[in-house]
């Protein structure tokens, strides 16, 4: 695995004070916040910044990390081939107090997990501390179809264990997750006992997975509602029509386009959105598609339409 330079992630040097760390983090967190950032890799940068901040703002973790960085510099580890040396954290103690906020480690790198995940646990064990394990948070992206119909998915999680040589070793475990039908974006799935192990014989925490819906080629999801653009011909829009529309649960339904429909008109199919017992709606946004005027017959028809509607001026409101 790669040795992470947390100081360069925050753009500071080793002599930075606690206040410098805080200022650098806040500045970068504003720059790369997914709601405001224009940078393409904002989400990844935000994760790196959060991880660096988790280590450098904590005196104990920072001191241990600094000592490790010195050993690495002396030992000359090749790039991308880092393994923490046995006993690297001797003399340092990490702990996550009961009021330190959510344990976001599920999002952090393998480097972070192998150093601090296990060390936090041992720190807690040494202090004879008894508490239920922390809950963990992660996100799961599923297709719209799986959100509607339910599915079973395998997810891979990182965890740390001590190997035969007493070194923290990186382990992956696979969990089979049953996704109930009708999930909407932002809803959480809770996996009992899959969070951090308990301290002093107490039960493990839970894992919360936040549901995200993958982009779909036909539908767009907004909270519990689903949107689809429905192209219609000028004739269908003007005279009204029955048109066939695919629905995300599979199959198709007949929909009535009312006469005198305009582009952008929203048709609602009630209860065909996401959300199980309190479902949202499926909205069809009308878009008028013009038949090409390349064939002679079509050209003639357009000319006839122009004659028949000679008094119609779509630019009247422009005052010309």
């Amino acid at each position: 695995m790669e040795f992470k330079d947390y100081y360069s992630a925050l753009g500071i040097d080793r002599t930075a004070s606690e206040e410098d760390v805080r200022k650098a983090y806040r500045k970068l967190a504003r720059k790369y916040h997914p709601d405001v950032s224009k940078e393409a890799d904002a989400e990844k940068r935000m994760r790196d910044i959060n991880e660096a901040n988790d280590v450098l703002r904590d005196k104990e973790k920072r001191a241990a990390y600094d000592a490790l960085a010195d050993r690495v510099a002396r030992g000359g580890h090749p790039q991308g081939d880092f393994q923490p040396p046995p006993g690297w954290d001797t003399g340092f103690e990490f702990h996550r107090g009961p009021n330190q906020g959510p344990a976001d480690h599920a999002d952090f790198s393998e480097f972070f997990s192998s150093l601090f995940g296990e060390a936090e646990r041992r720190g807690a064990a040494r202090r004879n501390y008894r508490a239920r394990g922390e809950d963990h948070h992660a996100a799961i992206e599923i297709s719209l179809e799986d959100a509607l119909n339910g599915a079973e998915r395998e997810i891979t999680l990182r965890s740390q264990e001590i190997d035969a040589q007493g070194r923290p070793a990186f382990k992956t475990r696979t969990l089979s997750v049953k996704i109930p039908a009708g999930m909407h974006p932002g809803q959480f799935i809770r996996l009992a006992g899959q969070g951090m192990p308990g301290h002093g014989g107490e039960p493990a925490g839970d894992l919360y997975l936040e549901v995200r819906i993958a982009p779909h080629k036909l539908y767009r999801v907004e909270e519990r509602d689903i949107y689809m653009t429905l192209p219609v011909t000028p004739t269908e829009a003007a005279l009204g029509a029955q048109v066939k529309v695919p629905v995300p649960t599979g199959g198709a339904v007949e929909v009535t386009v009312p006469p005198h429909a305009r582009s952008g008109l929203k048709l609602r199919l009630k209860g065909r959105g996401l959300g199980g017992k309190q479902p949202g709606d499926l909205y069809l946004l009308l878009e008028i598609a013009l038949p090409p005027a390349t064939a002679e017959a079509a050209r003639k028809a357009y000319e006839q339409l122009a004659q028949a509607s000679a008094s119609f001026n779509p630019r009247q409101h422009l005052g010309v």
Binding site: V36, P102, V177, K178, P180, Q187, E222
Partner: protein, 103 residues
């Protein structure tokens, strides 16, 4: 070999208790009471004792975000409530822009 785990979707029929919401955020129940007071999370009745409160996925999302704002930026809960409202509004407006094909 995959381990099969017990999964529950947080929903109206399976809400979170105040203590569970607190634990998920690495906080205590007293903190959840403060969230209710500033309106970051919603309860149907504040007269009922906290043990009877019930929270949704949206509440968990807001509570986690408020906890991070508190921890990383040192903001008070009143300011966190305003930031969350603005964030919600930005996301709503961005969705409207996308719906009109403008971005």
């Amino acid at each position: 070999m995959a381990t099969v785990s017990v999964t529950t979707a947080i929903s109206a029929s399976q809400p979170l208790a105040a203590s569970e919401l607190a634990h998920a955020c690495g906080a205590d129940t007293e903190w959840v009471v403060q969230l209710v007071e500033v309106g970051i999370v919603q309860v149907t009745t504040t007269e009922a004792p906290p043990e009877r409160w019930q929270f949704s996925s949206a509440d968990l999302q807001c509570a986690l975000e408020a906890r991070r704002l508190e921890r990383d930026f040192g903001v008070g809960l009143d300011a966190a409530a305003l930031i969350l409202d603005l964030q919600h509004e930005v996301r709503r407006l961005k969705a409207v822009i996308r719906a009109h094909g403008l971005r």
